[in-house]
């Protein structure tokens, strides 16, 4: 088990699916206005990722190459529908808030990416750990972004008041911007900056360079 442990730990920060591979951004923007929705989305995605990795790894030797993507998507979509139905039955209010985004886990490149890149080639044990690790890596970013946005945007965490807002007679003026989608972009951008400053190996080589003459001409003011 110990030799597999890195499957679980590397996706947390070093190879985080959101900040390194920039996958799953759409939902990371949409569901992070509060910690509660971010947490629920994290649980849903991690569950789907673990189960899809397990199932696909289990049958990987018998998946015909020509239809492998369709098989993967079919399995993922079925799992997502089941999770969505479960949430509508047992966590109705949160599922109303998450609206379409649970269903959109199907199109989350993170899930298909792990199925195609890892579960198709590895035994069940490492695949589940890889799914769990990536799910937790995604969750970590979601919770961070959700926490910052909820705290600065509404002065609460998990709906519990932390900063008393001016409207309630306190001192805290909520930052309305934090409740809007661009704020998630800013926070994820800052996170990527921090992580890549610490782990410089993550910095990508530039795809092209400006010609030196352009630089000296001062084309940009």
């Amino acid at each position: 088990m110990a030799r597999w442990a890195h499957h679980l730990t590397t996706p947390l920060v070093k190879e985080n699916p959101v900040t390194l591979q920039i996958l799953g951004i759409c939902s990371a923007l949409a569901v992070t206005t509060s910690l509660t929705t971010a947490a629920m989305m994290s649980v849903a995605l991690t569950a789907v990722l673990c189960m899809s990795s397990a199932i696909i790894s289990l049958i990987r030797h018998h998946i015909p190459t020509s239809i492998r993507l369709i098989i993967q998507i079919t399995i993922i979509a079925s799992l997502v529908i089941v999770i969505d139905e479960l949430m509508q039955a047992f966590a109705f209010e949160i599922s109303q808030q998450l609206s379409v985004f649970v269903g959109l886990i199907v199109t989350n490149c993170l899930v298909l990416g792990r199925a195609e890149a890892f579960a198709m080639r590895n035994p069940v044990g490492p695949s589940v750990l890889d799914g769990l690790g990536n799910g937790l890596g995604y969750s970590l970013i979601l919770m961070l972004v959700g926490g910052i946005r909820e705290l600065l945007g509404a002065g609460t965490l998990f709906g519990q008041t932390v900063f008393v807002t001016v409207a309630d007679g306190g001192w805290f003026e909520p930052l309305g911007l934090m409740q809007l989608a661009p704020a998630a972009f800013f926070i994820i951008g800052l996170l990527i900056w921090v992580i890549r400053t610490r782990w410089t190996a993550q910095i990508e080589a530039p795809k092209f360079k400006l010609h030196p003459s352009l630089k000296s001409a001062g084309g940009r003011s």
């Binding site: 998946i63 239809i67 399995i75 089941v82 479960l86 609206s99």
Partner: protein, 263 residues
């Protein structure tokens, strides 16, 4: 001789027979899984939806000043539900309100009628023949009436409960009961801040025409309600739903009869 199942799985993965069989197997297992979940969880989900709608109705009553007290004096704890024949405007006492499904009736050919395209303001194509109304009366006088309305918004069908004062024009409350508009934009019609703009608005002008409108920007009169920025078509959806359901193809005949004869 090996048995046929292991023989099939022993075939190479690019074999056509195996490809088709695997595809069929995966599809079958997934279909079973999904339909089982749907059938098993359906009743629990429906109970959640019903409970939420009842809670919405309750909280709407709580927003109406003095309504609880009136209800207490009248000795009732909930509004009375009656079924209305939309065409004649008469009550239909032979239909049991407890079992009548307004939403399902809208797509049932026997219980609904097609709306002529020109009259279909709310873009709903068909409407049920009967509709439930919730009312509060005391000694035969109407105190409050709540009408279910719905119409197409930007991305979904918007359903709402419209509570009217006894003059049948003044809005007592409007509460959105179901929608799936864009989160953060159109979906903000569910927020109490927006719904609290409705009480006191007049649906009709002096001539009795339906003039209520969700406008862009700030409302200028009692016939206008502030729109939500970025949600013009959602606001239009609410406007058109109200125009349709207050009009001759909706509750119009019923409201006319109510104004003339009372309950």
């Amino acid at each position: 001789m090996p048995n046929p199942v292991s023989a099939l799985f022993a075939r190479p993965n690019d074999d056509t027979t195996k490809t088709v069989t695997i595809a069929a197997l995966v599809a079958f297992v997934c279909a079973i899984l999904v339909s089982t979940a749907s059938v098993l969880l359906g009743p629990i989900q429906q109970a959640q939806i019903d409970a939420e709608q009842a809670a919405r109705m309750e909280s709407m009553l709580d927003t109406l000043p003095g309504m609880r007290q009136v209800m207490e004096e009248a000795g009732v704890t909930a509004l009375e539900t009656r079924i209305v024949d939309l065409q004649t405007g008469q009550f239909a006492p032979d239909i049991d309100p407890a079992t009548y499904d307004f939403v399902a009736a809208a797509t049932d050919p026997e219980l609904s009628v097609a709306i002529p395209t020109d009259d279909d303001l709310a873009s709903i194509r068909r409407r049920p023949l009967y509709a439930p109304v919730h009312l509060l009366e005391r000694d035969g006088d109407l105190l409050l009436i709540v009408l279910p309305v719905y119409g197409s918004g930007y991305a979904s069908t918007i359903r709402a409960m419209l509570a009217l004062e006894p003059d049948l024009s003044t809005v007592a409350a409007l509460t959105i009961t179901e929608q799936a508009e864009t989160p953060g934009l159109g979906a903000r019609i569910t927020e109490p801040d927006w719904q609290s703009l409705w009480p006191g608005k007049e649906l009709l002008n002096e001539e009795g025409d339906i003039v209520i409108e969700v406008v862009r920007g700030q409302a200028q009169s009692v016939h206008e309600v502030d729109g939500l920025s970025g949600a013009t078509r959602t606001g239009d959806g609410v406007t058109f739903a109200l125009h349709f359901w207050m009009g001759p193809n909706g509750f119009g005949p019923f409201l006319d009869r109510l104004a003339e004869e009372g309950l």
